[in-house]
């Protein structure tokens, strides 16, 4: 854990003092925040290449100069894994880009991923001195993180963290999403013999099957996974814990403790008439076919139906990813149908903005009530009801209320239902002693993340419901240290 003492002693190192002195603070605050270069909207909405192109070295240097290297760097509190933000940014300013990447990796296993997909505006950047006190745009912490991580990857000299001497103790990680990967990285560094079990044929969880290439290229995830392999993490794909083998069987062959990071993978539907017609997908199915299975790409066998008039139901990140994917697959009309107003949309602001630029239509305060199909059972129309905002509900958001008699029909040939996910009950059903909440998430001790089964820990979406990559990783690391403690005690006892 990074403490104020560590932060301040790092800050007092001579190189940091020197860098600070090169430019006056007042001049630093005059530098404008740089805009991330991106593909232009009408080109990118027809390819699957990354929307954001990345900062050049010059841009990164300029942005790094904005950071004031604060005495009390509040930004760190906004980061769920407490990256030493000013330290890595000042490494960039000192032109030691590889050094910056190293700082990131002290606390973050997947910096190239987080630099791309973290909702920085509500995390680290929301706590930046610029945001809090200067009423100016925050330092682009996420963009700089991405820059340093990409620089390291492209340099070909990716640093592999040091690993302690092997202690031969076997630990099992269930699920290879960000939570599982973060836990595996720490435990392996501490000398454990760690195996990650993954049900799918690819490692990465939502990073692979959910988030599209145009926001997070699979190759970026693969490089990070390769680093974990080099570190000594073992991966068993095609292994569904609870089915291929039970937790008990794994215990019997020597696994001493477990981390469950199996995500919240069960798609919700609205249970309205016609929802099972052909051409109506969950966003999980639609995105999995395209991102994991390569549907629509040359040479891949998996098909996907993606038409000219595509409606995506919902307003979260998943809905944005689905609708922007549909556009890229050739939709003439790609629409978001969302029951609240634009202000309440849970998706990241950047994603909404990008979607609008790409020609996505936003039908807000509207809700589907029924689907109709052609003679082949393919969806052809959706009936939509208009809504107005009523009083605030328990979540503090104003509740959408249907307007009687406002229904109308929209022609569609593809619908993607993106109204949230629930925890997948498959694993918990195989473990009757595992306590769950009434939403199906796992009950854990808030400090150790230990479940109701001793020696079995859990984190990420299976505990939080749908959350974020970095919160899942934070959980993975927290659970890893608790597992370390647990095993030390356990091994002493026998």
């Amino acid at each position: 854990m990074i403490t104020p003492d560590i932060i301040s002693s790092e800050r007092n190192q001579p190189w940091r003092e020197e860098i600070r002195k090169t430019i006056k603070q007042a001049d630093r605050t005059k530098i404008e925040r740089l805009h991330m270069p991106e593909q232009s909207a009408n080109i990118r909405n027809r390819n699957i290449l990354e929307v954001n192109i990345g900062l050049t070295s010059e841009m990164a240097l300029s942005e790094a100069k904005r950071c004031l290297d604060c005495v009390n760097p509040t930004c760190i509190n906004g980061c769920p894994v407490n990256i030493n933000i000013p330290k890595f940014i000042k490494k960039i300013e000192a032109k030691d880009f590889l050094g910056a990447a190293k700082v990131l990796k002290e606390t973050n296993t997947l910096p190239a991923v987080c630099g791309r997909v973290c909702p920085q505006e509500v995390q680290c950047e929301s706590q930046c001195f610029y945001t809090l006190k200067l009423n100016k745009p925050a330092v682009s912490i996420g963009n700089l993180e991405r820059f340093a991580a990409d620089f390291e990857r492209n340099s070909g000299s990716v640093s592999i963290p040091e690993v302690e001497k092997s202690n031969g103790i076997k630990l099992g990680i269930i699920g290879s999403g960000p939570a599982g990967l973060a836990a595996a990285a720490d435990l392996t560094k501490w000398g454990y013999d760690v195996t990650v079990f993954e049900a799918l044929h690819e490692i990465g969880g939502v990073l692979k099957y959910g988030i599209p290439e145009f926001r997070l290229p699979n190759i970026i995830v693969d490089v990070e996974i390769e680093t974990l392999r080099k570190l000594g993490v073992k991966f068993e794909t095609n292994f569904l814990v609870g089915r291929t083998a039970t937790l008990e069987q794994l215990r019997n062959i020597g696994y001493k403790a477990f981390f469950i990071g199996c995500g919240a993978g069960l798609p919700n539907f609205m249970n309205i008439p016609g929802e099972n017609f052909v051409g109506i997908f969950s966003s999980n199915e639609y995105l999995t076919r395209i991102n994991l299975m390569g549907a629509s790409r040359e040479g891949f066998d998996t098909p996907v139906l993606s038409g000219k008039n595509v409606a995506v139901i919902g307003g979260g990140n998943t809905a944005m990813d689905s609708v922007r994917t549909a556009k890229r697959l050739g939709a003439e009309r790609a629409m978001i149908i969302y029951r609240r107003s634009l202000e309440e949309m849970p998706a990241r602001k950047e994603e909404i903005k990008h979607a609008m630029e790409e020609g996505i239509e936003f039908l807000c305060l509207q809700n589907p009530t029924e689907y109709f199909a052609d003679e082949n059972g393919r969806v052809s129309k959706v009936k939509v009801q208009k809504m107005e905002l009523g009083d605030a509900d328990s979540s503090g958001r104003r509740k959408p209320v249907p307007i009687e008699g406002s229904e109308y029909i929209i022609d569609v040939d593809t619908v993607i239902v993106s109204v949230g996910v629930s925890p997948n009950p498959l694993l918990s059903k195989s473990l009757p002693e595992l306590k769950t909440t009434r939403w199906g998430t796992l009950v854990v001790d808030e400090n150790t993340l230990e479940t109701s089964i001793p020696g079995v820990f859990a984190g990420g979406d299976i505990v939080r419901g749908g959350a974020t990559v970095i919160l899942a990783m934070g959980d993975g690391r927290k659970a890893a240290s608790a597992m370390n403690e647990y095993v030390k005690q356990y091994v002493k006892e026998i």
């Binding site: 027809r46 390819n47 049900a199 799918l200 044929h201 794909t237 095609n238 292994f239 569904l240 089915r243 291929t244 083998a245 993978g265 069960l266 798609p267 539907f269 249970n271 929802e275 099972n276 017609f277 052909v278 051409g279 997908f281 969950s282 999980n284 199915e285 999995t288 076919r289 299975m293 390569g294 629509s296 790409r297 040359e298 040479g299 891949f300 066998d301 998996t302 098909p303 139906l305 993606s306 697959l329 050739g330 199909a373 082949n376 059972g377 393919r378 997948n424 009950p425 498959l426």
Partner: protein, 276 residues
Amino acid sequence: MYRILAKEFLSESVFKMEIEAPMIAEARKAGHFIILRVDKNGERIPLTISGSNSTNGSITIIVQKVGLSTMKLAQLKVGEYILDVVGPLGNATHIAKTGTILCAGGGVGVAPLLPIAQALKAAGNRVVSVLAARNKSLIILENEMRDASDEVIIMTDDGSYGQKGLITHGLEEFIGREKINEAVVIGPAIMMKFASQLTKKYNIPTMASLNSIMVDGTGMCGACRVTVGGKTKFVCVDGPEFDAHQVDFDELLLRLGAYRDLERNAIVKGPFSLTQ
């Protein structure tokens, strides 16, 4: 990587394959299935485990060539490898002693039916079976089904083997002859629809094993959803077996046809590509 230990054609379009997968072989029960991916660009396809062998750690699948993936699989030789195999998936069949059980298998549906018939027989039931197919060459696993059954009727559409007629004729023959306590029907969706309409008429509790289109097989995508008793269910985690009298077979039939045109193109002119 999963090695192919044996392969044999049961008919022109149906083949049996033994695959090395020791953990699945140990864990699997009647009613379970796997999902496999032939190669790195392949799709994930579900196939029932029709048997296993604990001595060499293998599972057996019986597959009908219907499209691109099953054809690719059919081309693999003994000693070669299948890239991905995951399982056992789905819920195992509930096996109990209930009396006389009527097993109905249509086409390659006999493959998933076989382990269930074997288990029902082993549990002490009287098992009577009807095997049906379009013609003689498509009747598979006849000997194995005879071993697992007390009596077998064979039906072919064209009369080239057994009796001429649809599976429902064979079923009615048994139903007319003796008291049937339960029925199990597995085959093409259209056959299950008509077979279960018949058993419903005679009030025979009936179980069907559904073959919806799947992707992950773990409850993550909803591709496999069907309506059972008015509620949406996921075949891969809630099934694959359901009370046949509650299943909306018409919906299942429509959903199975979802990719018909695309799949046909995939075979004729290779995988398609969309605008870039």
